[in-house]
């Protein structure tokens, strides 16, 4: 069995549609570069939590092949359990045959009822896939279904329209400011080495280098707990992250240095306004790595840069969006 922590997805807002089976059954999924498995709810799930979602029905798919292998998707105090199966997965016209995926069977909590997506499609490396399941994009490459072994992500700033995941290509209309390529430091997550982090012109963290993960499945900018309070204070916030909305225009950029290049995130991006309140879009966590601290560059960062996830040469490409 294997686990995938669902509680980490409670802030995510970008969703797309895929279909599974023959004929296709549609699902709203989150495209997550921070995990590697595909899972959707299934008709095996009889709890109320599943009643508000599209459920995959294997008996209505002529191409489904079941297994007896179990999978568990954990969230906080409980976990969804399910089984693994194989079927054709269609992602924007690309048909991936014999794709392994998880079909949930039980859902012990109620909150999933309100979850805005049905399932998750992981786009990270096979080395972190639960149950050894081959990720969708690996099958796209193996089955020669993509023109190039890369995919790219654009998240629009207004968030209302225009966001996309492009499989097999780089859209040159989003790279007019050039692409900076950063080699991966690990083929697990989309993990890179970060040189340092500045607030304005002042180095504030990661001064001896650290690790960062580019993760579409994380909404905010995640920083080590040991740094969070000093970072919030440097930006004029208390420990809750709340800040005066009138001060936003005077805040400095937070600048991530990656492979010798500066990648600024302006206050208009890292301050999140909701119902008249302004909050800094940072959250803390502690995950030590062999190379020191771990930072997560989530959607707040990705909205500033068109990101190319290149499996052909294991690099992340970043192009500033104007």
């Amino acid at each position: 069995s294997s686990t995938e922590p669902l509680q980490n997805y409670m802030d995510n807002e970008y969703f797309g549609t895929i279909s599974i089976g023959t004929p296709g059954q549609q699902f709203t999924v989150m495209f997550d570069t921070g995990s590697s498995n595909l899972w959707v709810p299934s008709v095996y799930c009889s709890s109320r939590a599943c009643s508000n979602h599209n459920l995959f029905n294997p008996s209505e798919s002529s191409t489904f092949v079941g297994t007896n292998e179990s999978v568990s998707i954990a969230y906080g105090t409980g976990s969804m359990t399910g089984v693994l199966g194989y079927d054709t997965v269609t992602v924007a016209g690309i048909e991936v045959t014999n794709q392994i995926f998880g079909l949930t069977e039980t859902e012990p909590g109620d909150f999933f009822y309100y979850c805005p997506f049905d399932g998750i499609l992981g786009l990270a490396f096979p080395s972190i896939a639960s149950a050894g399941a081959t990720p969708v994009f690996d099958n796209m490459m193996t089955e020669d279904l993509v023109a190039e072994d890369l995919f790219s992500v654009y998240l629009s700033k207004d968030g209302q329209s225009g966001s996309f995941v492009l499989f097999g290509a780089i859209d040159s209309s989003y790279t007019t400011n050039g692409i900076t390529w950063i080699p991966l430091s690990a083929e697990t997550y989309w993990q890179i080495t970060m040189d340092s982090v500045y607030i304005g012109d002042e180095p504030v963290a990661c001064t001896s280098g650290c690790q960062a993960i580019v993760d579409t499945g994380t909404s905010l900018l995640v920083v080590p707990n040991s740094i969070l309070n000093s970072l919030l204070a440097a930006l004029g916030s208390d420990s809750s992250g709340r800040i005066s909305c009138s001060a936003v225009s005077m805040l400095p950029d937070v600048v991530y240095y990656l492979n010798g290049n500066a990648f600024p995130v302006p206050p208009s991006a890292y301050v999140i306004e909701s119902e008249g309140d302004c909050m800094l879009g940072f959250e803390g966590m502690d995950v030590p790595t062999e190379s020191g601290e771990l930072w997560i560059l989530g959607d707040v960062f990705i909205r500033q840069y068109y990101v190319v996830f290149n499996r052909a040469n294991n690099m992340v490409g970043l192009s500033p969006l104007s």
């Binding site: 922590p5 969703f15 105090t77 924007a92 805005p116 972190i128 993509v146 499989f167 290509a169 966590m285």
Partner: protein, 42 residues
């Protein structure tokens, strides 16, 4: 060989739970831990 999936921006689970008055209870029962996503698959 080139395929674009359009993404739309919807309401987050956090926002939906907040609107239903369930967020506080949810966070009590499920302490939020961003680190749980990483290095937890087995």
């Amino acid at each position: 060989h080139i395929s674009r999936v359009s993404l739309w921006r919807g309401k987050s689970l956090r926002q939906t739970l907040k609107e239903h008055g369930l967020l506080e209870n949810y966070l009590k029962q499920h302490p939020y831990n961003p680190a749980a996503k990483y290095f937890s698959t087995g």
